[in-house]
Amino acid sequence: MAERICGICSDAHTTCYTQAIEDLLGIEAPPRAKYIRVIIAELERIHSHSLWLGIAAHEIGFDTLFMYLWRDRETVMDMLEFISGNRVHYAMNTIGGVRRDIPSEMTPKIKDGLDFLEKRIKYYIKTISSDRTIQKRTVDVGILKPKDAIELCAVGPTLRASGVKNDVRRDDPYAAYDEIPFNVVTHDGCDVFARIIVRCEEMLESINMIRYALDHMPAGMLRVRVPMAVEPNEAVSRVEAPRGELIHYARSNGTARPERYKVRSPTLANIPALCKMLMGQHVADIPIVLAGIDPCFACMDRLALIDVNTGRKKILDFNSLRENIRRMRGNCP
Protein backbone atom coordinates (compact mmCIF):
# COMPACT_ATOMS: atom_id res chain seq x y z
CA MET A 1 0.00 0.00 0.00
CA ALA A 2 2.79 2.41 0.88
CA GLU A 3 4.14 1.63 -2.56
CA ARG A 4 1.19 3.38 -4.17
CA ILE A 5 2.20 6.74 -2.75
CA CYS A 6 4.48 7.21 -5.69
CA GLY A 7 5.06 5.20 -8.79
CA ILE A 8 8.59 6.42 -9.47
CA CYS A 9 10.15 6.15 -6.02
CA SER A 10 7.95 3.32 -4.82
CA ASP A 11 10.84 1.43 -3.26
CA ALA A 12 11.95 4.43 -1.21
CA HIS A 13 8.48 4.74 0.26
CA THR A 14 8.25 1.07 1.17
CA THR A 15 11.74 1.09 2.69
CA CYS A 16 10.82 4.09 4.78
CA TYR A 17 7.52 2.58 5.81
CA THR A 18 8.94 -0.80 6.74
CA GLN A 19 11.74 0.88 8.70
CA ALA A 20 9.26 2.94 10.67
CA ILE A 21 7.18 -0.12 11.50
CA GLU A 22 10.28 -2.18 12.33
CA ASP A 23 11.30 0.59 14.69
CA LEU A 24 7.90 0.52 16.32
CA LEU A 25 8.07 -3.22 16.78
CA GLY A 26 11.68 -3.20 17.89
CA ILE A 27 12.93 -5.62 15.24
CA GLU A 28 15.65 -5.33 12.64
CA ALA A 29 15.88 -6.74 9.15
CA PRO A 30 18.57 -9.40 8.60
CA PRO A 31 21.84 -8.32 6.88
CA ARG A 32 21.11 -9.99 3.56
CA ALA A 33 17.75 -8.25 3.38
CA LYS A 34 19.48 -4.93 4.01
CA TYR A 35 21.83 -5.50 1.10
CA ILE A 36 18.95 -6.42 -1.17
CA ARG A 37 17.16 -3.24 -0.12
CA VAL A 38 20.24 -1.24 -1.09
CA ILE A 39 20.48 -2.89 -4.49
CA ILE A 40 16.84 -2.23 -5.32
CA ALA A 41 17.02 1.33 -3.97
CA GLU A 42 20.06 2.12 -6.11
CA LEU A 43 18.57 0.54 -9.23
CA GLU A 44 15.55 2.68 -8.59
CA ARG A 45 17.73 5.74 -8.27
CA ILE A 46 19.29 5.04 -11.67
CA HIS A 47 15.87 4.56 -13.21
CA SER A 48 14.48 7.70 -11.62
CA HIS A 49 17.43 9.90 -12.51
CA SER A 50 17.56 8.74 -16.11
CA LEU A 51 13.83 9.29 -16.37
CA TRP A 52 14.31 12.76 -15.01
CA LEU A 53 17.19 13.48 -17.33
CA GLY A 54 15.03 12.46 -20.25
CA ILE A 55 12.22 14.75 -19.12
CA ALA A 56 14.69 17.60 -18.60
CA ALA A 57 16.02 17.09 -22.12
CA HIS A 58 12.45 17.14 -23.36
CA GLU A 59 11.75 20.40 -21.51
CA ILE A 60 14.66 22.17 -23.13
CA GLY A 61 13.51 20.89 -26.50
CA PHE A 62 16.15 18.21 -27.01
CA ASP A 63 13.88 15.29 -27.80
CA THR A 64 16.61 13.19 -29.36
CA LEU A 65 18.35 12.90 -26.03
CA PHE A 66 15.01 12.15 -24.38
CA MET A 67 14.43 9.20 -26.69
CA TYR A 68 17.99 7.88 -26.25
CA LEU A 69 17.77 8.10 -22.48
CA TRP A 70 14.43 6.39 -22.32
CA ARG A 71 15.73 3.64 -24.56
CA ASP A 72 18.67 3.02 -22.24
CA ARG A 73 16.46 3.33 -19.20
CA GLU A 74 14.69 0.19 -20.36
CA THR A 75 17.86 -1.69 -19.33
CA VAL A 76 17.25 -0.73 -15.71
CA MET A 77 13.58 -1.55 -16.02
CA ASP A 78 14.54 -4.95 -17.40
CA MET A 79 16.84 -5.55 -14.45
CA LEU A 80 14.17 -4.57 -11.96
CA GLU A 81 11.67 -6.73 -13.78
CA PHE A 82 14.17 -9.57 -13.80
CA ILE A 83 14.73 -9.32 -10.03
CA SER A 84 11.28 -8.49 -8.78
CA GLY A 85 8.91 -9.49 -11.53
CA ASN A 86 7.32 -6.12 -12.13
CA ARG A 87 8.44 -2.97 -13.82
CA VAL A 88 7.14 -0.31 -11.47
CA HIS A 89 5.76 -1.55 -8.19
CA TYR A 90 8.37 -4.10 -7.16
CA ALA A 91 6.82 -5.30 -3.88
CA MET A 92 10.26 -6.32 -2.60
CA ASN A 93 10.10 -4.95 0.93
CA THR A 94 8.02 -6.42 3.65
CA ILE A 95 7.97 -5.71 7.35
CA GLY A 96 10.95 -7.55 8.78
CA GLY A 97 12.91 -8.07 5.57
CA VAL A 98 12.44 -8.60 1.86
CA ARG A 99 10.18 -10.92 -0.14
CA ARG A 100 12.54 -12.20 -2.79
CA ASP A 101 16.16 -13.15 -2.90
CA ILE A 102 18.76 -12.08 -5.45
CA PRO A 103 20.51 -15.41 -6.00
CA SER A 104 24.06 -15.52 -7.33
CA GLU A 105 22.83 -16.76 -10.73
CA MET A 106 21.33 -13.35 -11.31
CA THR A 107 24.58 -11.50 -10.62
CA PRO A 108 26.22 -11.83 -14.09
CA LYS A 109 23.14 -10.57 -15.89
CA ILE A 110 22.80 -7.59 -13.57
CA LYS A 111 26.50 -6.79 -13.95
CA ASP A 112 26.25 -6.90 -17.73
CA GLY A 113 23.44 -4.41 -17.55
CA LEU A 114 25.45 -2.19 -15.22
CA ASP A 115 28.46 -2.23 -17.56
CA PHE A 116 26.28 -1.15 -20.44
CA LEU A 117 24.69 1.59 -18.35
CA GLU A 118 28.03 2.88 -17.12
CA LYS A 119 29.26 3.23 -20.68
CA ARG A 120 26.11 5.04 -21.72
CA ILE A 121 25.97 7.38 -18.73
CA LYS A 122 29.60 8.39 -19.27
CA TYR A 123 28.72 9.12 -22.86
CA TYR A 124 25.74 11.24 -21.80
CA ILE A 125 27.86 13.23 -19.36
CA LYS A 126 30.23 13.96 -22.23
CA THR A 127 27.34 14.94 -24.49
CA ILE A 128 25.73 17.17 -21.91
CA SER A 129 28.89 19.01 -21.01
CA SER A 130 29.87 19.58 -24.63
CA ASP A 131 26.51 20.27 -26.24
CA ARG A 132 25.85 23.94 -26.86
CA THR A 133 22.06 23.68 -26.72
CA ILE A 134 22.11 22.25 -23.24
CA GLN A 135 24.76 24.68 -22.06
CA LYS A 136 22.79 27.67 -23.28
CA ARG A 137 19.57 26.53 -21.70
CA THR A 138 20.89 25.43 -18.33
CA VAL A 139 24.03 27.27 -17.25
CA ASP A 140 23.21 30.14 -14.88
CA VAL A 141 19.52 29.35 -14.99
CA GLY A 142 17.58 28.84 -11.78
CA ILE A 143 20.28 29.88 -9.35
CA LEU A 144 19.92 28.68 -5.77
CA LYS A 145 22.67 29.95 -3.46
CA PRO A 146 23.90 27.55 -0.75
CA LYS A 147 22.71 29.91 1.97
CA ASP A 148 19.21 30.04 0.54
CA ALA A 149 19.18 26.31 -0.01
CA ILE A 150 19.89 25.65 3.64
CA GLU A 151 17.51 28.34 4.81
CA LEU A 152 14.63 27.06 2.68
CA CYS A 153 15.33 23.48 3.73
CA ALA A 154 15.92 22.08 0.25
CA VAL A 155 16.76 18.38 0.06
CA GLY A 156 18.43 15.83 -2.16
CA PRO A 157 20.18 16.58 -5.45
CA THR A 158 18.77 20.12 -5.43
CA LEU A 159 20.67 20.83 -2.23
CA ARG A 160 23.79 18.95 -3.32
CA ALA A 161 23.90 20.90 -6.59
CA SER A 162 24.26 24.01 -4.46
CA GLY A 163 27.44 22.62 -2.99
CA VAL A 164 26.04 21.41 0.33
CA LYS A 165 27.26 17.95 1.27
CA ASN A 166 24.15 16.41 2.69
CA ASP A 167 22.90 12.92 2.10
CA VAL A 168 20.71 10.86 4.40
CA ARG A 169 22.50 7.73 3.21
CA ARG A 170 25.75 9.04 4.65
CA ASP A 171 24.52 11.13 7.57
CA ASP A 172 21.87 8.83 8.93
CA PRO A 173 22.74 5.42 7.48
CA TYR A 174 19.90 2.98 7.11
CA ALA A 175 19.79 -0.49 5.53
CA ALA A 176 23.38 -1.43 4.63
CA TYR A 177 24.62 2.03 3.68
CA ASP A 178 27.04 2.15 6.61
CA GLU A 179 28.92 -0.83 5.14
CA ILE A 180 29.06 0.24 1.51
CA PRO A 181 31.61 2.89 0.52
CA PHE A 182 30.35 5.71 -1.66
CA ASN A 183 30.92 9.38 -2.34
CA VAL A 184 28.40 12.12 -1.87
CA VAL A 185 28.36 13.96 -5.18
CA THR A 186 28.18 17.73 -4.94
CA HIS A 187 28.59 20.52 -7.44
CA ASP A 188 29.17 24.22 -6.85
CA GLY A 189 27.31 25.45 -9.90
CA CYS A 190 24.03 26.15 -8.07
CA ASP A 191 22.19 26.13 -11.43
CA VAL A 192 20.20 23.65 -13.47
CA PHE A 193 23.34 22.41 -15.19
CA ALA A 194 24.82 21.51 -11.80
CA ARG A 195 21.66 19.56 -10.98
CA ILE A 196 22.02 17.58 -14.20
CA ILE A 197 25.66 16.75 -13.53
CA VAL A 198 24.99 15.81 -9.89
CA ARG A 199 22.29 13.39 -10.96
CA CYS A 200 24.46 11.88 -13.69
CA GLU A 201 27.35 11.31 -11.34
CA GLU A 202 25.02 9.89 -8.72
CA MET A 203 24.00 7.30 -11.27
CA LEU A 204 27.64 6.28 -11.71
CA GLU A 205 28.03 6.16 -7.93
CA SER A 206 24.93 3.98 -7.68
CA ILE A 207 26.38 1.58 -10.24
CA ASN A 208 29.50 1.16 -8.12
CA MET A 209 27.43 0.66 -5.01
CA ILE A 210 25.36 -2.07 -6.65
CA ARG A 211 28.53 -3.83 -7.81
CA TYR A 212 29.96 -3.67 -4.30
CA ALA A 213 26.72 -4.85 -2.72
CA LEU A 214 26.44 -7.77 -5.15
CA ASP A 215 29.99 -8.89 -4.38
CA HIS A 216 29.73 -8.51 -0.61
CA MET A 217 26.25 -9.80 0.01
CA PRO A 218 26.22 -11.80 3.22
CA ALA A 219 24.38 -15.10 3.35
CA GLY A 220 21.49 -15.62 5.68
CA MET A 221 17.77 -15.37 5.94
CA LEU A 222 15.60 -12.85 4.17
CA ARG A 223 13.08 -11.93 6.81
CA VAL A 224 12.57 -12.17 10.53
CA ARG A 225 9.43 -13.13 12.36
CA VAL A 226 7.23 -10.18 13.12
CA PRO A 227 5.53 -9.95 16.52
CA MET A 228 1.79 -9.65 16.27
CA ALA A 229 1.20 -7.03 18.98
CA VAL A 230 2.36 -3.43 18.86
CA GLU A 231 3.15 -1.44 21.98
CA PRO A 232 2.20 2.24 22.11
CA ASN A 233 5.27 3.75 20.54
CA GLU A 234 6.45 6.13 17.87
CA ALA A 235 9.14 6.19 15.24
CA VAL A 236 10.67 8.54 12.70
CA SER A 237 12.15 6.98 9.62
CA ARG A 238 14.25 8.74 7.01
CA VAL A 239 15.34 7.56 3.60
CA GLU A 240 17.23 9.21 0.78
CA ALA A 241 14.76 8.82 -2.06
CA PRO A 242 15.96 9.69 -5.59
CA ARG A 243 14.59 13.19 -5.07
CA GLY A 244 15.89 13.75 -1.56
CA GLU A 245 15.09 13.17 2.04
CA LEU A 246 11.87 11.29 2.63
CA ILE A 247 10.48 11.16 6.13
CA HIS A 248 7.75 8.99 7.59
CA TYR A 249 6.44 9.40 11.11
CA ALA A 250 4.40 6.62 12.69
CA ARG A 251 2.72 6.41 16.04
CA SER A 252 0.94 3.40 17.44
CA ASN A 253 -1.46 3.26 20.34
CA GLY A 254 -1.40 -0.43 21.16
CA THR A 255 -4.19 -1.44 18.77
CA ALA A 256 -3.80 -2.89 15.32
CA ARG A 257 -4.39 0.51 13.73
CA PRO A 258 -1.94 3.39 13.83
CA GLU A 259 -2.83 6.56 15.65
CA ARG A 260 -1.08 8.79 13.16
CA TYR A 261 0.92 8.20 10.06
CA LYS A 262 2.57 11.05 8.30
CA VAL A 263 4.49 11.12 5.05
CA ARG A 264 6.55 14.02 3.85
CA SER A 265 7.94 13.46 0.41
CA PRO A 266 10.94 15.30 -0.98
CA THR A 267 9.26 17.37 -3.65
CA LEU A 268 7.24 19.32 -1.09
CA ALA A 269 10.43 20.26 0.72
CA ASN A 270 11.88 21.66 -2.49
CA ILE A 271 8.93 23.89 -3.39
CA PRO A 272 10.01 26.92 -1.29
CA ALA A 273 13.45 26.66 -2.89
CA LEU A 274 11.80 26.46 -6.29
CA CYS A 275 9.97 29.74 -5.67
CA LYS A 276 13.33 31.29 -4.95
CA MET A 277 14.88 29.86 -8.10
CA LEU A 278 12.09 31.15 -10.32
CA MET A 279 12.60 34.75 -9.25
CA GLY A 280 13.97 36.87 -12.09
CA GLN A 281 13.90 34.11 -14.70
CA HIS A 282 12.55 34.23 -18.21
CA VAL A 283 9.17 32.66 -18.77
CA ALA A 284 10.72 30.29 -21.28
CA ASP A 285 13.03 28.97 -18.59
CA ILE A 286 10.26 28.08 -16.18
CA PRO A 287 9.79 24.49 -17.42
CA ILE A 288 13.43 23.55 -17.08
CA VAL A 289 13.84 25.25 -13.70
CA LEU A 290 10.73 23.47 -12.53
CA ALA A 291 11.99 20.21 -13.89
CA GLY A 292 15.31 20.96 -12.23
CA ILE A 293 14.08 19.96 -8.81
CA ASP A 294 12.74 16.73 -10.29
CA PRO A 295 9.18 17.33 -9.25
CA CYS A 296 7.08 14.30 -8.80
CA PHE A 297 3.61 15.70 -8.65
CA ALA A 298 2.07 12.53 -7.45
CA CYS A 299 4.33 12.13 -4.48
CA MET A 300 4.47 15.84 -3.83
CA ASP A 301 2.47 15.34 -0.76
CA ARG A 302 0.05 12.84 0.47
CA LEU A 303 -0.78 12.10 3.99
CA ALA A 304 -2.47 8.99 5.10
CA LEU A 305 -4.13 8.80 8.43
CA ILE A 306 -5.94 5.80 9.66
CA ASP A 307 -8.64 6.91 11.95
CA VAL A 308 -8.90 4.78 15.04
CA ASN A 309 -12.66 5.23 15.29
CA THR A 310 -13.66 4.22 11.80
CA GLY A 311 -10.61 2.24 10.86
CA ARG A 312 -10.69 3.57 7.33
CA LYS A 313 -7.80 5.08 5.51
CA LYS A 314 -7.94 8.69 4.52
CA ILE A 315 -5.54 9.97 1.98
CA LEU A 316 -5.06 13.53 1.01
CA ASP A 317 -3.02 14.64 -1.85
CA PHE A 318 -1.49 17.78 -2.90
CA ASN A 319 -3.55 18.64 -5.86
CA SER A 320 -3.98 22.34 -5.74
CA LEU A 321 -0.33 23.09 -6.19
CA ARG A 322 0.05 20.44 -8.80
CA GLU A 323 -2.84 21.90 -10.66
CA ASN A 324 -1.32 25.34 -10.60
CA ILE A 325 1.94 24.02 -11.88
CA ARG A 326 0.23 21.96 -14.51
CA ARG A 327 -1.54 25.03 -15.72
CA MET A 328 1.80 26.74 -15.89
CA ARG A 329 3.42 24.01 -17.90
CA GLY A 330 0.60 23.34 -20.30
CA ASN A 331 -0.36 19.71 -20.14
CA CYS A 332 3.03 18.07 -20.47
CA PRO A 333 3.02 14.68 -18.83
Binding site: R4, Y68, E74, E81, F82, G85, A91, Y123, K126, T127
Partner: protein
Protein backbone atom coordinates in the same frame (compact mmCIF):
# COMPACT_ATOMS: atom_id res chain seq x y z
CA UNK B 1 28.23 17.41 -32.04
CA UNK B 2 28.77 13.98 -30.60
CA UNK B 3 25.04 13.36 -30.55
CA UNK B 4 24.96 13.78 -34.34
CA UNK B 5 27.64 11.10 -34.73
CA UNK B 6 25.60 8.92 -32.40
CA UNK B 7 22.52 9.47 -34.52
CA UNK B 8 24.38 8.46 -37.67
CA UNK B 9 25.65 5.35 -35.91
CA UNK B 10 22.09 4.39 -34.98
CA UNK B 11 21.02 4.24 -38.61
CA UNK B 12 23.00 1.04 -39.09
CA UNK B 13 21.67 -0.69 -35.98
CA UNK B 14 18.61 -2.89 -35.96
CA UNK B 15 15.59 -1.30 -34.28
CA UNK B 16 15.16 -1.81 -30.57
CA UNK B 17 11.40 -1.63 -30.73
CA UNK B 18 9.49 -4.73 -29.74
CA UNK B 19 6.98 -5.92 -32.29
CA UNK B 20 4.48 -6.29 -29.52
CA UNK B 21 0.96 -6.69 -30.80
CA UNK B 22 2.18 -8.99 -33.58
CA UNK B 23 4.64 -11.03 -31.54
CA UNK B 24 3.93 -11.80 -27.92
CA UNK B 25 6.61 -10.84 -25.44
CA UNK B 26 7.85 -12.99 -22.59
CA UNK B 27 7.10 -12.11 -19.02
CA UNK B 28 9.70 -12.49 -16.26
CA UNK B 29 9.71 -15.32 -13.78
CA UNK B 30 8.11 -13.58 -10.82
CA UNK B 31 5.63 -11.55 -12.80
CA UNK B 32 2.44 -10.81 -10.94
CA UNK B 33 -0.41 -11.10 -13.38
CA UNK B 34 -4.01 -12.01 -12.70
CA UNK B 35 -4.39 -14.21 -9.60
CA UNK B 36 -6.18 -17.51 -10.12
CA UNK B 37 -7.83 -19.53 -7.39
CA UNK B 38 -7.56 -23.29 -7.22
CA UNK B 39 -10.88 -24.05 -5.62
CA UNK B 40 -9.91 -27.65 -4.85
CA UNK B 41 -7.41 -26.29 -2.37
CA UNK B 42 -9.42 -23.34 -1.07
CA UNK B 43 -10.96 -23.82 2.37
CA UNK B 44 -12.87 -20.56 2.32
CA UNK B 45 -11.12 -18.92 5.23
CA UNK B 46 -11.62 -15.48 3.71
CA UNK B 47 -8.10 -14.31 4.45
CA UNK B 48 -7.49 -13.21 0.86
CA UNK B 49 -10.49 -10.91 0.84
CA UNK B 50 -9.49 -9.47 4.20
CA UNK B 51 -5.88 -8.65 3.30
CA UNK B 52 -6.71 -7.23 -0.13
CA UNK B 53 -5.81 -3.52 0.04
CA UNK B 54 -8.22 -2.49 -2.66
CA UNK B 55 -11.19 -4.71 -1.88
CA UNK B 56 -10.96 -6.59 -5.16
CA UNK B 57 -11.85 -9.98 -3.71
CA UNK B 58 -15.33 -10.75 -2.55
CA UNK B 59 -16.14 -13.96 -0.73
CA UNK B 60 -19.71 -15.15 -0.75
CA UNK B 61 -20.50 -17.78 1.85
CA UNK B 62 -18.05 -19.49 4.11
CA UNK B 63 -15.98 -22.64 4.31
CA UNK B 64 -16.04 -25.18 1.53
CA UNK B 65 -19.16 -23.71 -0.03
CA UNK B 66 -17.54 -20.32 -0.48
CA UNK B 67 -17.63 -18.61 -3.84
CA UNK B 68 -15.00 -16.09 -4.79
CA UNK B 69 -15.54 -13.08 -6.98
CA UNK B 70 -12.43 -11.36 -8.25
CA UNK B 71 -12.83 -7.86 -9.65
CA UNK B 72 -9.93 -7.38 -12.05
CA UNK B 73 -10.71 -3.70 -12.49
CA UNK B 74 -10.00 -3.10 -8.81
CA UNK B 75 -7.04 -5.44 -8.45
CA UNK B 76 -3.66 -3.81 -8.01
CA UNK B 77 -1.77 -7.07 -8.62
CA UNK B 78 0.25 -6.76 -5.41
CA UNK B 79 0.31 -10.50 -4.72
CA UNK B 80 -0.66 -10.12 -1.09
CA UNK B 81 -3.52 -12.62 -1.45
CA UNK B 82 -1.31 -15.31 -2.87
CA UNK B 83 1.28 -14.67 -0.17
CA UNK B 84 -1.23 -14.81 2.66
CA UNK B 85 -3.15 -17.86 1.50
CA UNK B 86 -2.54 -20.62 4.08
CA UNK B 87 -3.29 -23.37 1.52
CA UNK B 88 -1.38 -21.89 -1.43
CA UNK B 89 -4.55 -21.97 -3.45
CA UNK B 90 -3.82 -18.71 -5.26
CA UNK B 91 -1.28 -18.44 -8.05
CA UNK B 92 -0.28 -15.32 -9.92
CA UNK B 93 -0.46 -16.08 -13.63
CA UNK B 94 1.30 -14.44 -16.58
CA UNK B 95 -1.82 -12.77 -17.90
CA UNK B 96 -1.60 -9.03 -18.23
CA UNK B 97 -3.82 -8.09 -21.15
CA UNK B 98 -7.03 -7.39 -19.29
CA UNK B 99 -8.25 -4.42 -21.29
CA UNK B 100 -11.98 -4.54 -21.83
CA UNK B 101 -15.01 -2.47 -22.70
CA UNK B 102 -17.16 -3.21 -19.71
CA UNK B 103 -16.39 -3.42 -16.02
CA UNK B 104 -19.17 -5.96 -15.50
CA UNK B 105 -17.28 -8.39 -17.71
CA UNK B 106 -14.09 -8.03 -15.72
CA UNK B 107 -15.28 -10.16 -12.83
CA UNK B 108 -13.96 -13.67 -12.50
CA UNK B 109 -15.97 -16.09 -10.42
CA UNK B 110 -14.64 -19.22 -8.81
CA UNK B 111 -16.67 -21.92 -7.18
CA UNK B 112 -15.80 -25.35 -5.94
CA UNK B 113 -16.73 -28.21 -8.24
CA UNK B 114 -18.64 -30.80 -6.33
Amino acid sequence: MSIILEAIRQIFKSPITLKYPFEKTDVPKDFRGRPVWNMQKCVGCGLCSRVCPSGAIEMIGKGLKAEIKHYVDRCIFCGQCSESCPRNAITMTDEFEHAGYDREKMIYEYRRES
